[in-house]
């Protein structure tokens, strides 16, 4: 297709990620991967590290990807896709090399390889499918798990209920490498999703996409609510949609009003235990994040917790400049 895709209707109908995979019913990651593969098209080489995706889609001797496909170990997505691209360059093959890693393989275990590939500005596309935990191995906490969430390694007890730390800002780390293109995606913002993947496909150099992919068993949510949860994440500020092109950040969608975070939490069993103190703490963190992302364009006040707008610290303003 010569014209750039910008809406759902422009997407090709042939699936490069076929039906018949073993994902749970209502899997957010399957939605993301299927559509990314539709947009990237036939001329793509896929790498997947240890994750749910490998288990659901590539049990030897079959795979769901109708493209060349490789996997090795957990921690080296950045390194392997760099090597695959180098080999293709040497052999005169031109294709989009994409690494589809989970949040564990990106936030925690694969961070150094990601950083290396980004720093060398390898001509690859790195996609982080963020389901906020190690869901494949049975729901353990990762650097991407949000504050308060239950996992098997951040259990709910009498003293401590759920994870005590806030989610790592991975995009800021990637942004610090000054990549050619980086964007955060949501499966509930369809046209935005298509535009960003298309943009990432057509650029040369290191490109990074960060997709939120709700996990039905890990988030203790209903199978039919996967897309709705993604939408509410954006509306409450738990997820922000922006892109970073040649060092400049641009918000691609800003919710009109900030919904209270409880709208997002109540659909998920992993937050069911949260008390008012914890919710207030999370809401406060969200408000700060909201100002950070939308600060310059927003009419005050947006946040229910802050009665008057809080003056921003110098360090946050510096941060804003970049993200």
């Amino acid at each position: 297709m010569n014209e750039e895709m910008s809406t759902i209707k422009d997407m090709p109908t042939n699936d490069m990620f076929t039906s018949g995979h073993g994902a749970c019913a209502g899997c957010g990651m399957a939605i993301a991967v299927k559509n990314i593969m539709r947009i990237l098209g036939e001329n793509t080489t896929v790498y997947v590290p240890a994750s749910c995706l490998i288990v659901i889609s590539a049990m030897y001797p079959t795979s769901n990807f109708r493209t060349p496909y490789l996997y090795t170990a957990f921690e080296n997505t950045g390194a392997v896709i760099s090597g695959m691209k180098a080999a293709q360059r040497r052999r005169g093959i031109s294709s989009t090399v994409v690494g589809l890693a989970g949040d564990g393989g990106t936030f925690d275990i694969g961070l150094q390889a990601l950083s290396g590939a980004a720093e060398r500005n390898e001509d690859v596309l790195y996609v982080c499918l963020d389901n906020e935990g190690y869901m494949n191995t049975g729901i353990q906490r990762s650097g991407a798990t949000p504050f308060g969430a239950w996992t098997t390694t951040s259990p709910v007890g009498k003293v401590v209920a759920g994870k005590r730390e806030f989610k790592k800002d991975l995009m800021a780390i990637v942004a610090a490498h000054d990549p050619v293109y980086a964007a955060s995606l949501s499966i509930a913002h369809f046209n935005d999703f298509v535009k960003k993947v298309e943009k990432a496909k057509n650029k040369k150099g290191f490109r990074f996409l960060h997709v939120m992919t709700p996990c039905v068993p890990g988030w203790r949510s209903d199978t039919s609510m996967t897309v709705e949860i993604s939408r509410l994440a954006v509306e409450t500020g738990m997820w922000t949609l922006y892109e970073l092109e040649d060092g400049e950040a641009r918000t691609t969608y800003r919710p009109r009003t900030m919904l209270p975070v409880t709208d997002y939490l109540k659909l998920q069993g992993r937050f069911r235990h949260m008390g008012n103190d914890d919710i207030a703490k999370l809401q406060e963190w969200l408000c700060r994040k909201w100002y950070l992302h939308y600060g310059s364009e927003v009419e005050q006040p947006v946040c229910a917790v802050f009665e008057k707008p809080r003056p921003m610290r110098q360090s946050e303003e510096d941060h804003l400049h970049f993200v």
Binding site: S19, G20, A23, C24, A25, G26, I56, Y60, P217, T226
Partner: protein
């Protein structure tokens, strides 16, 4: 040795059921062990779990291939898997179904107990987790463990993990199932054929184990080969599409995790129900409610 094989779906608690049965046997003074089939099982996918009970130490560690007791937690599995494969002729089966034993066709004529564990679980636990209800039926059908030991085991397992109230609810479910279980004999007309698999020896593997698209012994291999897995058997609810209402926004087509919604030339859609897992996302994202989910996995 008394060998037990559980067939269920991911999320129904087959593994917990196997462990609880083993624990009840230990309380009775037997040796026992229990373990799941270790595979890539996801929620809704057919799964297996195993248990062994003996009055001396058990040294065998393999899966159970010739069960004395077969426990099926989801009736729909009978149609998609040869669940009774390898069953002993004097074995027993316990099935979660609305039907009576004589209405069932297991593929082997054996003593069979049936119970509607799903409705019991919904009544007592408010969720279709049928494992404890089925254990009540097991106690009645086999007598290998008494209901007292079963209750103790349930209290140990579930009380520790989920609290006292959950333990009582589960014991209630088991007791109700014990009362409602019907014992009879099932039919054996269905052929028990194993699924074909490609299991090469090391010298038959291609170089580097990389496979190109193709088939070996009529089994698809290589890129795209996984589409031979018809995941539509996981479905417990089915989408119904009202073409008149459809505004052709294609949101459902984008949001279907399975890719089983197919886009027509004119941007209407149709479903390939061979793959639909019945998650209900399409009905949820539809802006004009042109899709509803109806109960049952019918075509």
């Amino acid at each position: 040795m008394f060998e037990v094989r559980f067939h269920g779906r991911g999320g129904q608690g087959a593994v917990m059921a196997a462990q609880t049965l083993a624990e009840a046997a230990v309380i009775e003074g037997y040796h026992a062990h229990a373990f799941p089939f270790f595979g890539a099982e996801r929620r809704g996918a057919p799964v297996m779990a195993f248990a062994r009970i003996d009055d001396k130490k058990i040294s065998i560690k393999s899966q159970v291939y010739e069960p004395d007791l077969l426990i099926v937690l989801d009736e729909s599995l009978l149609d998609i898997e040869p669940v009774a494969r390898g069953m002993k002729k004097d074995g027993k089966a316990v099935i979660n179904t609305r039907k009576l034993p004589m209405e069932l066709d297991l593929g082997i004529e054996v003593d069979c107990a049936t119970v509607n564990a799903t409705s019991i679980a919904l009544e007592f636990l408010k969720a279709p987790i049928v494992n404890t209800a089925i254990l009540g039926a097991v106690a009645k059908a086999t007598g290998i463990v008494s209901m007292d030991s079963m209750n103790k085991a349930i209290r140990n397992r579930f009380g520790e993990k989920f609290g006292e109230a959950a333990a009582n609810a589960n014991i209630g479910a088991a007791a109700a199932a014990y009362e409602q279980t019907v014992i009879g004999r099932c039919k054996g007309k269905r052929p028990l054929k194993a699924k074909r698999e490609w299991l090469p020896d090391w010298d038959q593997l291609p170089m580097g184990t990389a496979l190109s698209e193709g088939s070996i012994d009529a089994v698809m291999v290589g890129p795209g080969g996984a589409r031979q897995n018809l995941t539509g058997t996981w479905r417990v609810q089915t989408p119904r599409y009202d073409k008149e209402k459809c505004v052709r926004c294609l949101r459902c087509w984008f949001s279907c995790p399975e890719g089983c919604i197919k886009r027509d030339e004119d941007d209407h859609v149709h479903w390939d129900l061979n793959y639909c897992k019945g998650c209900g996302i399409c009905a949820q994202v539809c802006p004009v409610k042109a899709i509803d989910m109806i109960k049952g996995g019918q075509k």
